[in-house]
C-alpha cells in the first residue's frame, strides 16, 4: 500500500514547522525504527487491510497504527499524541491512484517501560494510536 505510506509520510513532512514534526524532531519510520534511534520518534504501520465493495465502489478499509516513543516526561508524549491527532484525525490526504474518504481516530493506549527492562537511562513512554482509514479506487 505504497500510496498510503507515501500519503502519511508526506503529510508528516509537509510542514517542518508543524507541531508533530517538531515533537518527533523529524523522525518518523515505516514499520521499524533504526536500532538505538534517539528519542523521541514515531513508527507507523498498517495493521489491518480489507478490500471491500460499497455499491459500485471498490474500497480499501484499513487500520493504521502509530507508535510514539519518548523518554522524557509523560506530558511530552501527551502533547505529541494531541499533535498527532491534530495532524491526522479527520484529515484530508493525497493517496495517489485512490480517492481519500476519511481517516479517524479509532483507539489509543499509553504504556510505560521501566528502565530495568530496557536498560535505558530513563523510563520510556509508548503511545500506541490506531486510526481507521477508508479510500476508494479512482
Amino acid at each position: 500500500m505504497r500510496p498510503v505510506w507515501k500519503g502519511i509520510y508526506s503529510k508528516f513532512t509537509a510542514s517542518t514547522s508543524a507541531a508533530f514534526y517538531a515533537d518527533m524532531r523529524g523522525q518518523m519510520f515505516l514499520q521499524q525504527a533504526r536500532q538505538n534511534t534517539t528519542f523521541p520518534y514515531c513508527v507507523f504501520s498498517i495493521v489491518g487491510h480489507d478490500h471491500d465493495w460499497m455499491f459500485n465502489r471498490d474500497v480499501e478499509d484499513m487500520l493504521i497504527q502509530f507508535n510514539i516513543f519518548d523518554d522524557r516526561h509523560s506530558s511530552d508524549i501527551g502533547k505529541a499524541f494531541d499533535d498527532l491527532n491534530t495532524l491526522y484525525d479527520g484529515c484530508q490526504m493525497t493517496t495517489t491512484g485512490y480517492n481519500f474518504i476519511h481517516m479517524n481516530l479509532d483507539w489509543s493506549q499509553m504504556v510505560k517501560y521501566e528502565d530495568e527492562i530496557t536498560q535505558h537511562t530513563r523510563p520510556i513512554w509508548q503511545y500506541t494510536v490506531q486510526y481507521h482509514m477508508l479510500i476508494e479506487t479512482t
Binding site: A33, Q35, Q65, Q126
Partner: protein, 148 residues
C-alpha cells in the same frame, strides 16, 4: 361484536434472540482465535542464547522457558464478565505478547529476544478486523431467524 385477542410472545422471542446471538458471538470469537493462531509468529528454536550478563534475574528464567508456539498456544476464548466472549493472548510465560502485538522501543531489552527494535507483528487486531463483517452478517441472520 366478538373481541379479538392478540397473543404476543415477546419473552420467548427475546429468549431465542439471546440464545442465537450468543451462538454467533461464540462462533465469531472462535474464528477470530483461529485466525489469530494462524497469524501469530512462531520462533524456530526455543530459548535464547544471550550474553552471560543477560542470563541473570528472574525475568531471564521465564524467558529461557519459552518454547516455539507458546504465544500461539496461549490464545484462548473465554466468556466475558459482562456477557459476550473475549479472545485473550499471553500469560506469565508469554509476557511478550504486547511487544509483538503493539511493537516496542528501539532499545535492547534486558530479558533478551534481540537487541534490534521489536517492530511488532500484529496478529490479534488483524484477526478481529477480518471477521467484523462476517460477524455483522451472521448477527443479522440470527436475529432474523429468531424473530421470523
Amino acid at each position: 361484536m366478538a373481541k379479538m385477542k392478540v397473543i404476543w410472545n415477546g419473552k420467548s422471542i427475546g429468549n431465542q434472540v439471546e440464545i442465537d446471538v450468543g451462538k454467533v458471538e461464540r462462533k465469531t470469537a472462535e474464528q477470530i482465535a483461529d485466525d489469530a493462531r494462524k497469524l501469530a509468529p512462531v520462533e524456530e528454536r526455543s530459548g535464547f542464547r544471550g550474553s552471560a550478563a543477560m542470563r541473570t534475574g528472574a525475568s531471564w528464567k521465564s524467558w529461557i522457558k519459552r518454547r516455539p508456539g507458546a504465544l500461539r498456544d496461549s490464545i484462548k476464548v473465554v466468556p466475558g464478565k459482562w456477557g459476550g466472549y473475549l479472545v485473550t493472548v499471553g500469560g506469565h510465560d508469554e509476557f511478550y505478547a504486547t511487544f509483538i502485538e503493539l511493537g516496542a522501543p528501539a532499545v535492547p531489552i534486558t530479558i533478551g529476544y534481540k537487541t534490534a527494535p521489536i517492530d511488532g507483528r500484529p496478529f490479534m487486531r488483524p484477526a478481529a478486523w477480518r471477521n467484523r463483517n462476517t460477524f455483522k452478517r451472521n448477527l443479522s441472520k440470527a436475529v432474523d431467524k429468531a424473530t421470523r
